[in-house]
């Protein structure tokens, strides 16, 4: 069985460490791939640049921070959801922002979940753990390689 990647997009090293620590609690079989800014995240998604040689296939879930260098989280989300090949890939916003505007913008762009990073560590672990477990294990993603059909629908 091939386990799909979990893509974590996080610029802050400390947050990244906490997130990876929390995800580790799941003992996920899925490989965890890290992108440190929006541009890298897009490179991964579109299999180019640093990720040009990665094995094909979309990730099981993209865990996306909002505030990112180069290309910000909302823009990454927008491009993923605008691409016929990528748009069914689950994207979860994991962010410090409780701003309603950010929340609404994300949902309008088609985000699959929006999680505010709790200040308390145990709550944070609980949140990340459960979303990792849900999207990587429980959730059934759509079948891929429906390229032509999808494009014709756009």
């Amino acid at each position: 069985m091939i386990f799909k990647d979990v893509l974590v997009v996080e610029d802050n090293a400390k947050d990244l460490e906490l997130t990876l620590n929390a995800l580790g609690e799941n003992n996920l079989a899925n490989p965890i791939v890290v992108a440190r800014d929006g541009a890298e995240a897009l490179d991964y998604m579109f299999v180019r640049g640093k990720f040009a040689t990665r094995p094909k296939g979309n990730p099981a879930v993209v865990i996306l921070d909002m505030k990112l260098p180069k290309v910000d989280g909302l823009e990454v989300l927008k491009r993923i959801k605008a691409d016929p090949n990528l748009k069914y890939t689950p994207v979860v916003m994991l962010t410090s922002s409780r701003e309603e505007k950010d929340l609404m913008d994300s949902y309008q762009l088609g985000v699959n979940a929006y999680v505010v990073k709790p200040v308390g560590f145990s709550e944070f672990v609980m949140a990340v753990k459960s979303l990792g477990g849900f999207w990587a294990v429980v959730n059934e993603p759509p079948l891929e390689n429906n390229k032509k059909e999808e494009s014709s629908n756009l």
Binding site: N12, L18, T95, S96, R98, F121
Partner: protein, 652 residues
Amino acid sequence: MILGSKEENIFDAERNQEEAQKEQALSYAESIISTVRDPLLALDQDLRVVKASRAFYEVFKVNPQDTIGQFIYDLGNKQWDIPRLRDLLETILPKKTSFDNYELEHDFSTIGKRTMLLNARQIDEVLGKKKIILLAIEDITERKQVEALKEQALAYLESIINTVRDPLLALDQDLRVVKASRAFYEVFKVSSQETIGQFIYDLGNKQWDIPRLRDLLETILPEKTTLENYELEHDFSTIGKRTMLLNARQIDEVLGKKRIILLAIEDITERKQVEALKEQALAYVESIINTVRDPLLALDQDLRVVTASQAFYEVFKVSSQETIGQFIYDLGNKQWDIPKLRDLLETILPEKTTFDNYELEHNFSTIGKRTMLLNARQIDEVLGKKRIILLAIEDITERKEAEEVIAKLDKGLKQRAQELEAANKELEAFSYSISHDLRAPLRHIDGFIGILRKSSADKLDAKGLHQLNVISDSAKQMGNLIDALLFFSRIGRVVMEKNFVNANKIVQSVVSDLQPDIKDRDIEWKLGTLPPMEGDPSMLKQVFANLIQNAVKYTGNRLKAIIEVGSTDAENGEDEFFVRDNGAGFDMQYVGNLYGVFQRLHTIEEFEGTGIGLANVRRIITRHGGRTWAEGIVDNGATFYFSLPKPEVRKS
């Protein structure tokens, strides 16, 4: 006629006596013949003239020498040799011995064309002749002419009577109808049978028996013989209430009557109505002109003032004497002789018949520099003029000045608003950055303490673990404070909805949300019926949530908590709401601090909390146009009040 007396028999015995008598009779007859006013001829059986009256010689301008003994047809150049006369004398007379009133028209050589009326008698044996014809000749030429004229006049009159458009009556001296025009029958819906010969007052159910008409016909007309344009308003039985214009003439000896009254009746009801309407319209227009608050001029086609409103005189400080009839440019020291106005009135208006809101700045000699707003309409045929220009003049000087001030203020205000918006944006960015950047380190502190606790718990003693907990709690507490502050800032910024809100439902929902936290508490809820509120539903729920949560919190050390939610109808157009508890209360001297941000009257150890809840309440209520206040006694409960404007009553 004496001359026509019967013949007498002559007896021999009385011959002398008879002769004498004869002589007498003859001279008598002769004297008669001489005295009759009309020409008279006595002819013998041979139609020779035996005798002629003096009138004969005078009328036919002949003398006895040329007449007596002459054959009648030879008289005066044979002017009597007329076939018709021959016929009368030689054929008719011998048979009938008389003829009467025989008209003979003939061109006599002595007296021209005349019409003679002939009467003849044949008498036997008189004047010493076996047979005498008496021929009376009456010259009726003039009489015939007069009669012809009379007939012509009559026909003319009748034709006039019948052709006049208006009802016309010809009355005789007894006021009986001699003649009525066709229009009379039509207008009054009567027939000629029930009209001609009738007494005027009896006509059509006596509808003409009007005291005023009696007065006119019986008193005024006989005196003045004429009556002009007399208005008579009357309710006629056939045609209803009408106004008639009466004209009458009294004419002597016409139509075979001694005196005739011609009475022309014109129905002017509609005309009067139209005139009344016209007058009303005119009065209306004038009243409009005079009631408008702004100066208004009505000009004729020559741009002379026909009417000016009262306001015109007042504003421009001129009198009507120096205004009405004046050329507009000459008004008030020619202060209206303005090129722009000339252009408007003489060029633009004739083309477009109207102009609107034309601003005119001008230095008027009477009132100084002003800005006027001109509106004009050109109207055809009104006020008895072919063309009228209505020119409304509004002094907008003050308004313009005010507008300039407003524009300046507006500009300032806009600038202020822009600045405010920029500041708001900055604040938003600031709070965004707080929410992101300030919380991240806290999360890291707690996160790594969590990792440390997990990985190194066995290496730390109880004291060390406690200190980790304190660090962790502090980080969390600061996170809560930041969250509260962000919420507070958001309440002030977000756009509010404005809906009707059922306060009772909100309170119910707040209380039911609290249930998991208070399942171990003994709380008596006194929830009164609250009036509807108007505002942002989620914000108003936040208010009740904060106040009720506070009440629950500050009654935490009561065995039995009593929490009351109620309202009162304030008389100033507001509804007042309150949440009352029997909890810890507060010292009224610190009541001013209650609603401040992060202001607390108790320690965290006593009652936990961020100290921002009441600040949120005040901010929300203030944004809704209401007020907040509180009453409390230390250890004896507190009441928190807020008021809201009553909802606007809306239909639907």
